[in-house]
């Protein structure tokens, strides 16, 4: 369970001062599927970065499973990235010199976890890419690359997956396939927080939060 309290993020000073997040609070319950929506520049990605510890707060708190993580230094954040929270990015961010399987294995290498390597193949199978295991990102389509990224995010069995516009770089059809994947993951018990600016995705979410100019302008729960 993750809780964000009064999060504020300010960039720059003086004339270049930007308030990216203004006193934002939200709670991610276990098993929730939250979609954060809003126009460009509304602060959605910043919020996601704050939640995941990829960026620092100016003020406020982020509490994960009862512990404050907003003040964590890099070493402590590493622990979170190895099995508590995982990320999926709009640009996939796979390492271009590694194959699909190697990209999926990457988190395990850093975590020093040799035992789960066999499981990685199964995870690739789970996203339907076992036939592409030896391909490098340059040989995969956008949708395939994103599935590799999702498989990579799963390999450490995280409780929470943060996805920043995961379908932003692909066509509708592929996008829906990816969203189906996320839905399956959520049904399997993982919490998902997804940022998007496309209203079509709303149907997949259990909760929709809208942001504008760094502030929450709406919170809707749906079944």
């Amino acid at each position: 369970m993750l809780k964000v309290s009064n999060a504020t993020k300010i960039y720059g000073e003086g004339p270049t001062r930007v308030v990216a997040l203004d006193n934002v609070s939200l709670t991610v319950e276990d098993g929730n599927f939250i979609v954060i929506m809003g126009p460009s520049g509304s602060g959605k990605s910043t919020l996601l970065n704050i939640i995941g510890g990829l960026d620092y707060l100016t003020s406020g708190e982020v509490i994960l499973d009862g512990k404050r993580i907003d003040g964590y230094d890099e070493n402590a954040l590493v622990g979170i990235r190895r099995g508590k929270i995982a990320y999926v990015f709009q640009q996939y961010h796979l390492l271009p010199s590694l194959t699909a399987l190697e990209n999926v294995l990457l988190p395990l290498i850093f975590a020093g976890d040799v035992n789960s390597e066999k499981g990685a193949v199964d995870i690739l199978k789970g996203v339907g890419l076992e036939k592409r295991a030896d391909h490098k990102p340059s040989q995969l389509s956008g949708g395939e690359q994103q599935r590799v990224a999702i498989a990579r995010a799963l390999v450490n069995s995280p409780g929470l997956i943060l996805a920043d516009e995961p379908t932003g770089n692909m066509d509708h059809k592929t996008g829906y396939e990816i969203l189906e994947l996320f839905k399956r993951l959520n049904e399997g018990g993982r919490s998902i927080v997804m940022v998007t600016h496309s209203p079509d995705i709303a149907g997949y979410a259990k909760e929709i939060i809208t942001l504008q100019d760094g502030q929450i302008t709406g919170r809707t729960k749906q079944v």
Binding site: N75, F89, H93, L95, S97
Partner: protein
């Protein structure tokens, strides 16, 4: 898959960039290896000359030039002293040399220790060509002239034989078995020497007694070379003793001549090493620059790795692995290029020197390159690992 495998795969993808990064290391290493190799060749040349130049000591007649004056008028210079050393002095000289060496090295053997090679130089004309004939003790001379090699024929075995230097044989169109007229008597060519690059090439060597009788110089020698086999032989002591105890001769230790040449070589070497140091420093800047650029262009990759759980230490390790790789490649290529450079430039600096490959410089070059590459990478790698992950993606 291990951490270093990630590094290797990434290097394979960026081959050209990595080679370019290694270039700075190559240039620095190449210059240092090149200069050190040339320097060592210069030193080796002198040491080999010391070794090759058979004698440790040369004994020549003591000749004094007296300035003749009548009042304030100069009447020219008068050379006083004989141009020859009486052969009987040989025994005394041998005694001095041998006993000094025996003392210094604690040898109890009563036999001859030092090699003493007398020589009698005579200018003569053979078939109209002016040449120098050298009367020698064949056995002793052979020991002193360690670099002599026969091109044709045999060494001196009979008193009336001649051993001809390479260029003299060419000039006179001599072959083995030919007869040389020697001031009335005649000698047969027993053999022809290979080219030595010294005055020997222009000389004809004939047993001492034959030359003495042919030129009426019985019992006389022009000079003699003394060779003692050991590096620790008290050459200066022997020279001193000879100078003190034997009138009319001067003993000169060959080492002294070589030492001054060495001093010059050392000065040259120091200059070149200074230049190498400067080049290395410049090369170092190049390496640092390239490594910084290399780290910078991987900021996105670093962000990705950290997002999936890489610690800062692991990121730095990855860069150090790459730096080691670059150091090894750069050191290897730098050593090869540096040695090649020495081959090309060396003979221009030290004329006629053969450049020898110095294999000991290889591990030196490797270690130096690796240290340089790693040192140049550490700071930018640490910096890069501290960038906020979110910022890593932003800058792309």
């Amino acid at each position: 898959m291990k951490l270093y495998e990630i590094v290797v795969k990434d290097i394979m993808r960026r081959k050209r960039r990595v080679l370019y990064a290694a270039l700075g290391v190559v240039i620095g290493t190449m210059t240092v290896v090149g200069i050190l190799t040339i320097a060592s060749a210069g030193e080796t040349k002198i040491y080999r000359q010391l070794e090759q130049y058979g004698p440790n000591l040369t004994v020549i007649p003591a000749i004094n030039n007296l300035d003749m004056k009548l009042g304030n008028l100069s009447m020219g210079t008068l050379t006083v002293g004989d141009n020859y050393i009486p052969q009987e002095q040989l025994l005394k000289i041998r005694q001095i040399a041998d006993s000094s060496i025996r003392q210094a090295l604690n040898i109890t053997d009563e036999g001859d220790i030092a090699t003493i090679a007398p020589k009698l130089y005579e200018n003569t004309k053979i078939n109209g060509v002016s040449l120098v004939v050298v009367g020698v003790d064949p056995q002793q001379e052979r020991i002193v002239k360690t670099w002599w090699e026969l091109a044709k024929g045999d060494y001196l075995n009979e008193p009336d034989q001649a051993l001809v230097g390479a260029i003299a044989a060419d000039l006179l169109k001599l072959n083995v078995g030919d007869t040389i007229a020697l001031n009335g008597s005649s000698t047969k060519v027993s053999g022809i020497l290979k080219e030595t690059g010294s005055a020997d090439d222009y000389q004809i060597f004939i047993p001492l007694a034959t030359v003495q009788s042919a030129f009426n110089k019985a019992g006389m020698i022009s000079s003699l070379d003394i060779r003692a086999l050991c590096n620790a032989c008290p050459v200066e002591m022997i020279a001193d003793s000879i100078n003190k105890n034997i009138p009319g001769v001067r003993a000169i230790a060959v080492k002294q001549i070589a030492k001054s040449e060495m001093g010059l070589v050392e000065k040259m070497n120091n200059l070149m090493l200074a230049l190498a140091g400067i080049t290395l420093a410049v090369g170092l800047f190049g390496v640092i620059n390239t490594m910084m650029a290399s780290v910078h262009e991987r900021i996105k990759d670093i962000g990705i790795m950290r997002a999936v759980g890489a610690s800062r230490k692991q990121i730095i390790r990855i860069f150090i692995y790459e730096a080691v790789f670059i150091g090894i490649v750069g050191g290897l290529i730098g050593y090869l290029f540096g040695t090649a450079l020495a081959y090309i430039i060396g003979p221009l600096i030290f004329e006629g020197t053969t450049i020898y490959v110095v294999p000991q410089y290889f591990p030196l070059a490797l270690i130096m390159s690796i240290v340089v590459a790693v040192a140049a990478t550490i700071y930018p790698a640490i910096q890069a690992s501290e960038i906020r992950v979110a910022d890593s993606f932003r800058s792309v």
